[in-house]
Structure formats: C-alpha cells, structure tokens
Symmetry: C2
Subunit: 225 residues, 2 copies
C-alpha cells in the first residue's frame, strides 16, 4: 500500500474517532513523525482530507481539523433531504423490487428487536448502510453518489455529538422499513415522501437529544487550545 494511502486512512480515522479533535491544527512534521512517513505523502493525505471536508484551511495557521457543531445540522439536512429524496425516487424507478422487499423485512425484524431493548446498535447501523448501498446502486447516478459519500461522512461526525435515544432507534428502523417498501413498490413519489418524513423525524430527534444533553451540561465540543 502506498504511504499516502496509509496516511490518509490513518488521519481520516483519527479525525472520525476524535483522536484529532476538531479545530486542532494538523502539523505536517508532527504527523510525519507519528506515522513514520515523510512529509510528501502527509501533504497528499491532507489535500484529500480537505476535499472530504474533514479538514479546513485556516488563515495563517495551516490546516485544521474541520470543526463540528450542531449549528451546521440544518444546512446539512437541507442538502440531505434533497439528495436522499432524489436517490429514493430514482431507486423506485430503477431498482430491483425484491431486493428492497427483503431489506424492508429485515428492518421490520430489527425494529422489533430494538423495541424490545436488546438490539445491537452497530449491527443496526450496518443494516442502514446496506439500504444506503442498495439505494445508491439502484439510483445508478455516479455524480449523486459522489456527493452522498462526502455528505455521509459529515453526518457521521455530527451523529456522534448527540447520543441517540434507543426508543428513537426502533422508530427509525420502522421508517427505514417503510422507505424500503415504498421503493420496492416502484412509486417514486411515495418513496420520496417516506424519505422526507424519515428525515424530518431524524432531525427532530437530533434537536431533542441536543436539548436534553444541553440541559444536563453534557454538550461540549472542545477544540484543543
């Protein structure tokens, strides 16, 4: 594997995990020594992070890890609604119905398990990924797909800011089942409606979680000094 790929993946996961905290500057030599490669591949990795939106040029201070805050969540969701609805509508027109029916079934099962309070969260998110992948494939639009990828990394970062309510998770599983079913029905407008509804609920849940965390004083997004 190329050193620049290694550096990219390493830095990327460090940012995602929070090892590199938002707002902290990424110093080339520091990372170069830490990862055991020269500055050249580090620079290439950083430029990829910039285009991912995981790093930002800071005026005079080089590049910093892109800050996250719930203030962005509305902008992010405006874009997300647009793209996810389009993707769902396209998938409804082009997708393989049986594949989405099967996914709908699995989401229904997942919803039941989560409602019983014994769900594995990671497993559930993996299922969501499967649905996303199926939709991407069915939508068959490489430009749309490209944008979705970068949007999702932003959403993943945001998601970690507020702990998701387990009750909400079961509800979300139901909504995903609904989306899959609507796509399987090949009705583009219906698929779009289900998606729009789901995203509205998701945003509302985020707002609620944030409010409750703020209340308990748990809402802190530290940037390194």
């Amino acid at each position: 594997m190329r050193a620049s790929d290694l550096a990219y993946q390493s830095l990327r996961s460090d940012i995602m995990e929070g090892t590199l905290s938002p707002g902290s500057v990424i110093v080339e030599v520091e990372q170069s020594e830490r990862l055991g490669v020269s500055r050249t591949p580090i620079r290439e990795a950083i430029s990829r992070l910039l285009s991912d939106g995981l790093a930002e040029p800071a005026p005079g201070r080089g590049v910093i890890v892109a800050p996250i805050s719930l203030e962005n969540v509305y902008s992010l969701f405006e874009l997300r609604v647009s793209l996810d609805c389009t993707a769902a509508a396209l998938a409804a027109g082009r997708g393989d119905a049986t594949r989405f029916m099967r996914l709908a079934e699995r989401f229904k099962q997942a919803a039941a398990i989560l409602a019983a309070g014994q769900g594995n969260i990671a497993e559930y998110y993996a299922l969501v990924d499967e649905l996303d992948t199926a939709i991407d494939a069915a939508a068959a639009n490489r430009y749309l797909y490209q944008v979705q990828l970068t949007l999702r990394t932003q959403l993943t970062r945001i998601r970690k800011l507020s702990k998701t309510n387990p009750v909400r998770l079961a509800q979300a599983a139901d909504e995903h089942a609904q989306i899959a079913r609507c796509i399987a029905s090949q009705d583009a407008q219906l698929a779009e409606a289900a998606t729009r509804l789901h995203l509205a609920n998701a945003l509302f849940a985020i707002e609620e979680a944030a409010a409750s965390q703020e209340q308990h004083g748990l809402f802190e997004v530290a940037a390194h000094p």
Copy 2:
C-alpha cells in the same frame, strides 16, 4: 502567488478551453517543464483537479483529463434538478425580494434583445452567473454551495459539446426571468416549479442540438491518441 495555485489555474483553464483534450494523460514532468515549476506543485494541482472531477485516475496510466460525453448529461441533470430546485426554494424563503425583481427585469430585457438576434452571448451568460450567485447567497447553505460549484464546472464543459440554438437562448432568458420573479414572490413551491420547468426545457434543447449536430456529422469528441 504560490506555484501550485498557478499550476492549478493553468491546468484547469487548459482543460476547460480544450487545450488539454479529454482522455489525454497528464504527465507530471511534461506539465512541470511546460509551466516552469517542479513536480511537487504540479502534483498538488492534479490532486485538486481530481477533486473537481476535471481529472480522473486511470488504471495504470496515471491520471487523465476527465472525458466528457453527452451520455453523462442525464445523470448530471438528475442531480442538477435536485440541487437547483432546492436552492430556488430556499432562496424564495430567505432571499431579498427586490434584488430578484431587479434581476427578473434584466432578464426580460435580455430576452427581448436576444429575440431580436442582436444579443451578446457572453454578456448573457454573465447575467445567468449573477442570478446563480444571488440564489447561492440567498440559499445561504455552504454545503449546497460547495456541490453547486463542482456541478457547474461539469455543466460548463458539457455545454461546449453542443452549440446552443440562438432561439433557445431567448427562451431561456424568459425562463430565468420567470425563476427570478418566482423567487421574489417568496413562494418556495413556485420557485421550484419554475426551476424544474426551465431545466426540463434546457435538457430538451441539449438533446435537440445534439441530434441535429449528429445529423450534420459535427458531433465528435476526440480523445488524443
């Protein structure tokens, strides 16, 4: 100015102008000597072109200038409809009405001039840019804006593939006036409808132009040997 910025702008415009033809490989040393800088800034410029979608990694052959073809136009427009409609709707909800009214007036004038067959095309496109900029500003969504920028560079490249019919241009100016008016009216759904209509017409015009050019044997997208 940094050498990498110079290299980026130079390569970018070379690709846009067609000096570097689609499909041709971008050889680092070659460009390095041509532009009088070392390979390092060239590599950085190339990585920016990659994230712009103006260059593509080619398996084993390094990177090539991204090919263009009208086959992409449908995928591109699917995304464009989604984004432009969202932007128009947001702008209707947030924008300064008088600013869009003024733009609508100018488009009406432009339409009259173009219909009379004495319009300056570059001037017209500049006006379109102004509208786009106004919408971007009013939509006030940095994530959406970012995607629009890269989408528009793709559309600009595609546009050059088929000569636009002057009659269509006057019609398009009317449609832009309509869009501006709808945004000024602060009716999000209406703004979206006007945008959707315009894009449907634009796509149709592209198809027609392509068909007529193909007929006349003018439809050639050469890749260098």
